[in-house]
């Protein structure tokens, strides 16, 4: 079983793919597989095959075509506070990108720039072919293509679950009520709570509310889904049900940008991880790169604190 699973994994030390024939060991901390020999050399203090010193590591899923989100020298200030400093980043269709970092590092702000819940003051930002950074651009049609899930769910308390999900499809996409409800019921099935269609948000558990919020985001058939700490407000026993929905979504090839403290999710689902600190993307790379041999001191410190 482990052999099969590791067949497409990359050794974090030599960055070569791990094949079935290789002798492998698993990291005692995070369970990531690596070549036993590489690990021995590393612990012996020897430098393994020239490991790139730059934080960038090649993405396993070789991006194809145009990026769907492109930050080009993006800067953002809140008054005098410089919260995003020269962010350059490209996210490709189908990628799952996880943003991690300490509190106040600008993760939420970076995410919220993508659908212009925050405006940027310098640099360019392209999303789905639109120049979001152009203040003259009408953002409304772009937002319709981007679903967003918030830490505190933000369901509309005066509407039933069904009404929450169908509001945007009906008012923005001008769908008929019947059509919108059909899609909504389908999505509720998918997130596992079809029986709650006529309940009000206040009658649901936190985990159920967050799954409704995901269904609400998906109802617009978005090209991108943004998640801002979707499990941080949940009781531990409900985190899994929400993460499972997100994993399923990732498997279907949804483009996802996820701010989270769930390192298990990052390790398992992310194509790439970005580590932010002080408004800067300090390090980026595959989960393997990240959790096994991060390069930057700040990343190591952060990972030591949370793992």
């Amino acid at each position: 079983m482990p052999n099969q699973e590791t067949s497409n994994k990359i050794c974090p030390y030599c960055l070569e793919p791990i094949t079935r024939e290789d002798e492998i060991t698993y990291c005692s901390k995070c369970g990531v597989p690596h070549h036993t020999e590489c690990w021995r050399q590393k612990s012996a203090g020897l430098t393994v095959v020239e490991k790139p010193k730059i934080p960038e590591t090649p993405t396993p899923k070789k991006p194809s075509g145009e990026p769907i989100i492109s930050f080009q020298g993006v800067n953002k200030w809140f008054g005098k506070l410089h919260v995003l400093k020269d962010i350059n980043e490209e996210i490709y269709p189908g990628e799952v990108v996880v943003i991690i970092g300490p509190s106040g590092s600008g993760k939420s702000t970076m995410l919220r720039c993508i659908n212009r819940l925050e405006t940027i003051q310098k640099g360019k930002l392209f999303v789905d072919g639109y120049e979001i950074s152009n203040p003259k651009l009408n953002i409304t049609p772009v937002r319709a293509e981007i679903g967003m899930v918030f830490q505190h769910f933000n369901l509309y308390p005066h509407m039933t679950v069904l009404e929450n999900i169908t509001l945007a499809p009906r008012k923005v996409r001008k769908m008929s009520e019947a059509e919108a409800e059909e899609i909504a019921l389908e999505l509720l099935e998918k997130v596992g709570i079809p029986e709650k269609a006529h309940a009000y948000p206040s009658q649901l558990s936190g985990g159920q509310q967050q799954r409704v919020a995901i269904a609400r985001g998906l109802a617009m058939r978005p090209k991108i889904m943004l998640f801002d700490e979707p499990t941080s407000a949940l009781d531990p026993e409900m985190i899994k049900e929400v993460l499972d929905v997100m994993k399923a979504l990732a498997r279907e090839g949804m483009t996802m940008v996820v701010v989270t403290h769930e390192m298990g999710f990052a390790r398992e689902v992310a194509d790439r991880v970005l580590f932010m600190d002080g408004g800067v993307i300090v390090e980026r790379g595959t989960p393997e790169h990240f959790f096994v041999n991060p390069v930057e001191e700040r990343t190591k410190l952060f990972l030591r604190q949370i793992l």
Binding site: F150, N154, Y156, P157, H158, T160, L167
Partner: protein, 234 residues
């Protein structure tokens, strides 16, 4: 004390009282509707992104909120017509201008309080609601209409109902510009019969009935607006 009560005068002058009541209801009802519309618009304007719109709205509110109502009534009734062309003046005088002026005065005065209530109500809605709606692709207006206002309304209703009650009571000031509403008629009965005690007791009771009716009706509206929503968190 040898005042002898004669409640029969009320029956004798019932037509005056009834006319007064009808006019008070008309004056209050029209002003309630108009001040709610105007107040809601100015309340929303105070939260606009545009500095100019915010300034206009807050000047309006601050100015009319801080001027005595009776001065405003006198202004609309005595001063405004002088600024108007002669033909418009005579048209106004021929069309119950005292009534129009009192509607303007009551509407503007009350709308400032309603604007404040609406602004506070909207501001009390979690900003995540607005963000979720905008993020889903709704326009600013759709967000306000489908998401924010339906939630704000139940917070806004109690203070606004208080303003409706104040407006109904304040409508008695219209007598000072010769609108023959309830208080005016009570005064008329007093001067015709010297039965001031009876006349004003009757007026008082009628005002109480009116305000109780408004409270009852709006209580129903409030329960309707709260349907499906959890009890408000403190």
């Amino acid at each position: 004390m040898d005042y002898e009560f004669n409640w029969l005068v009320l029956w004798e002058y019932r037509d005056l009282l009834l006319e007064g009541l009808v006019l008070t209801i008309k004056l209050s009802a029209i002003s309630i509707v108009l001040s709610t519309i105007v107040g809601t618009i100015f309340g929303i304007m105070r939260l606009s992104k545009s500095l100019i719109i915010r300034l206009i709205a807050s000047s309006y509110v601050e100015f009319f909120l801080n001027t005595p109502l009776i001065i405003q009534l006198f202004f609309w009734y005595f001063a405004l017509p002088m600024a108007l062309p002669g033909w418009l003046q005579s048209w106004l005088w021929a069309h119950n201008y005292e009534f129009i002026a009192s509607v303007i005065g009551l509407t503007i005065y009350t709308s400032t309080f309603i604007a404040e209530a609406v602004r506070a109500g909207i501001q009390s809605i979690d900003k995540g609601q607005r963000e979720a709606a905008l993020a889903s692709g709704l326009t600013g207006f759709q967000t306000l209409w489908y998401v924010i206002l339906p939630q704000a309304i139940r917070i806004v209703i109690p203070p606004v109902v208080n303003q409706f009650l104040n407006l109904t009571k304040n409508s008695s000031l219209a007598m000072t510009i010769a609108v023959p509403e309830l208080t005016y008629q009570a005064q008329a009965i007093e001067s015709l019969t010297f039965r001031g005690f009876e006349a004003f007791t009757a007026a008082t009771l009628i005002y109480i009935c009116l305000t109780l009716t408004i409270s009852l009706v709006m209580g129903k509206v409030e329960r309707w607006a709260a349907k499906g929503q959890r009890p408000m968190a403190a």
